[in-house]
Amino acid sequence: MSDRQTEFSEDLAENVRRIRECMQHTDDLIFVDRELASGKPIKIAYLKGLTDDRRLEYLLAHAREFGNGDFAFGDDGWRKSIQQGAESLAAGQALLLFADPPGAAAIDLLGVQLRNVEEPSSESTVKGPRSGFTESLTNNLALVRYYCPSPQLKIESCKIGRLSPTPLAILSVGGITNPSILKEVHRRIDEITADFIVGSNAIEEWIADHRGTMFPMVESTERPDRVVGALMDGRIAIIVQGTPFVILLPFVFLQAFQVGEDYFWNFYIGSLLRMLRIFCGLIGLLLPGFYVATVTYHHELVPTALLQSIAAAKEPVPFPAVVESFAMMFAFEIMREAGIRMPKQIGQAVSIVGALILGQAAVEAGIVSPIMVIVAALTGICTFTLPPNAMNYAIRLLQFGMTFLASLLGYVGLVAGIIGLLIYLASLRSFGIPYLGPAAPLNAQELTDVIVRRPIPWDSKRPTLFRALNPYRFRGGDK
């Protein structure tokens, strides 16, 4: 869209022509003639299908009752240029075109059929709240307001996309969120020069500190309770129109092992689940490599009876352990991807085919050993315990690299891989916050808090990692 603005003229027909031209003579653009009570003609423009029929009907029926527009609508709803008017139409508003004064009043009539508030399928919970975000920005903001009815909650709106401006909202909490981080977020969003944005991932990639990394630099969630929790820790949320995934930032590595539900269970259970997820993350990353290193380089380290069983199972397999391992991991990834993409009705068939053909039949045919099937299955299932964010995918990708290193140098390769990974992670930053914090730089108390879910009455301090203005959630509880 051109940056040049053409102001509305006093000639309604001319304005209609210009709007049609601006909107590429689209067929769903409708103009209706009406008269005000004073007898002045007006035109009502809207995009068919994008507006709510009942409200449109009301508008058309009561058009006579509108004034001249200058008193009925504030500056927020008054469009002075053709381009502004066209943008409003595209955003689902109806335009009331006035000849005197020349301009148009925009009335929000957006009536697209959207989902209701449902439980997010990617972040299901047993005990927590069940509502999840939808594709509507307004609705999502209302949900956050509902969960956090605080006057300190601040919502800043803007639009991104030169060609197709997509509204988004930046949420923060006054008195808690560090203004320098908020300023940095604004700066990075302002620098986005994309012509259009689809979904929050595009925003994520534009504003991330490191664009070439496979690790998530921001968190993504569908749950309003998680957003509110993050806001209260001094973090910032970005909600984009058209996607239920809300961006939370800054984000550090160890947060990938936390889910909101930890706080809905007793702290012992919450802590154990959190530790279990960290353990599963390690298994997901290292188990195939560990298995390959052990059975090809470090036979002495396995208890004799176990080695005997593994050796007996491996006896008919013609492939080296590393090939076997890659084949099974690859097969598992194929099944997982197929399971996600396939219609739900056929999903069961994928499971049966996967379990029977790739598991049992492959073992019986002597192509893979049963132990490798167990390793691949355990690895896969362990990665499922992690919250479904990009960290999950990064770990799955890295397990191939770790296995490759283990096949070259055994445990030495594995340790070299871990050290390399830690060095790399320590070099990352998310909006200036060290990605490995609070482990590196070490803050022992906060590290404990990340691994263990403390009882809520004891958890009076906010994490210093996000540089919140108010370091305390409440006073007197930290005993």
Partner: protein, 380 residues
């Protein structure tokens, strides 16, 4: 500069790929050695036998430790050469690191014990925790035993060592124990003995049995300690965990009162007295439970328990004294008395250390046993 960095990366990856893979061994390229036997070979050499589990393949389910075994042998001037020559008969590389037990023939011990132990240390293929046994006769017989209770004799040998915890007739002795005893010289080496039992009809070898200890003096085999002396040794050296003790009913032979020894501990104090004679005091504390009382017309009373305790004190003292008699007769300091004196009286030790082997048989031992019967297992 950037190009140089890239070249360095590529070289590093090539170095990894080129050097790394050579050390790898797939599981179906190796034979897992479970136990090893050392017999005397020709011309002062050694004959090495290795017990290897046969792996079931094809459509069968893996059997783990239930597989049958086969034996490979090799002979050379030392263990290393014998092991290398054994590879000439094997289709796969032999993995020695999983060896559970090494059985040494008495003949090897008589010929060149230190030499073989030194080679084992240099060979560095065995785990330090590998168990060591000795046998009078062919050691390879142990590997060939067709046991009804275990498919792999290494399992039986491990089981025997674990069983020693409750029988008090044998004890776990690993390669590391022998290395330490030979290098430190604090005490003499003592290796548990095994025997092979034939089936009742005198046919095949059917079982392996723990049978006392072989004691060494330096690198020489000193002698064999049978069950009673072995018990005395384990008690005195504080290695006894549990055993059984018996007393005859009213001092008569026939029926016996049986006790389970649930705990035994000992303390040894050694010093040189004013006359220059080494004096050793061994204090033993044991707890026992009554487990069998078949004596007729005998009611278990506190007085009877006190009487039993007195008899047990005397019996256990005799066990320990018979061990002391054995060790002094063969001049083998199995309890490390010399080292205790060294640590307590270093100046005096300097004067006597060169003649310690002659002095040890003259040591004056005092044994004090304190027995307590904890439970009779019935209400009186």
């Amino acid at each position: 500069m950037r190009a140089a960095g890239r070249i360095a990366w590529v070289l590093a990856v090539f170095a990894l790929v080129g050097s790394g893979c050579r050390g790898s061994l797939e599981l179906n390229e190796i034979h897992i050695v479970h136990s090893v036997a050392l017999d005397a070979g020709k011309n002062g050499g050694v004959k090495l036998s290795a017990e290897i589990a046969r792996l079931s393949s094809g459509q069968q389910q893996p059997k783990g430790m239930q597989n049958k075994t086969f034996i490979l042998t090799g002979e050379g001037s030392n263990i290393f050469e014998a092991a290398r020559l054994m590879r000439a008969k094997s289709d796969r590389t032999l993995l020695w690191g999983q060896t559970t037990a090494i059985v040494i023939s008495k003949d090897v011990a008589l010929q060149s014990f230190d030499k073989q132990i030194e080679t084992l240390r240099r060979f560095r293929q065995f785990r330090n925790t590998t168990l060591v046994y000795m046998i009078d006769g062919q050691a390879s017989r142990v590997l060939e035993v067709e046991m009804p209770n275990a498919s792999i004799s290494a399992q039986a040998l491990r089981g025997l060592a674990e069983g020693g915890e409750i029988t008090g007739l044998t004890s776990q002795t690993s390669l590391l124990d022998i290395y330490m005893d030979r290098i430190n010289g604090y005490k003499e080496v003592c290796i548990p003995a095994v025997r092979v039992l034939r089936s009742k009809d005198g046919g095949a070898d059917r079982l392996i049995k723990a049978a006392g200890f072989y004691a060494f003096r330096g690198d020489r085999l000193a002698g064999f300690m049978p069950a009673r002396i072995s018990k005395g040794y384990l008690r005195a050296s504080n290695r006894m965990r549990s055993t059984i003790e018996k007393l005859a009913c009213d001092g008569k032979t026939g029926n016996t009162v049986a006790f389970e020894n649930t705990r035994s501990s000992s303390k040894i104090a050694a010093s040189i007295d004013k006359t220059g004679t080494p004096v050793v005091r061994i204090e033993v504390d044991t707890d026992l439970n009554l487990v069998g009382q078949p004596c007729e017309d005998q009611t278990v009373t506190p007085e009877l328990i006190a009487e039993w305790e007195k008899q047990l004190n005397s019996d256990i003292e005799d066990q320990i004294k018979s061990f002391i008699g054995f060790s002094q007769q063969h001049a083998t300091d199995l309890l490390g008395i010399g080292e205790r004196i060294h640590r307590k009286q270093p100046q005096q030790w300097k004067r006597i250390k060169d003649e310690w082997s002659e002095l040890y048989p003259t040591c004056r031992f005092t044994v004090n046993v304190n027995t307590r019967i904890d439970h009779t297992n019935f209400t009186i």
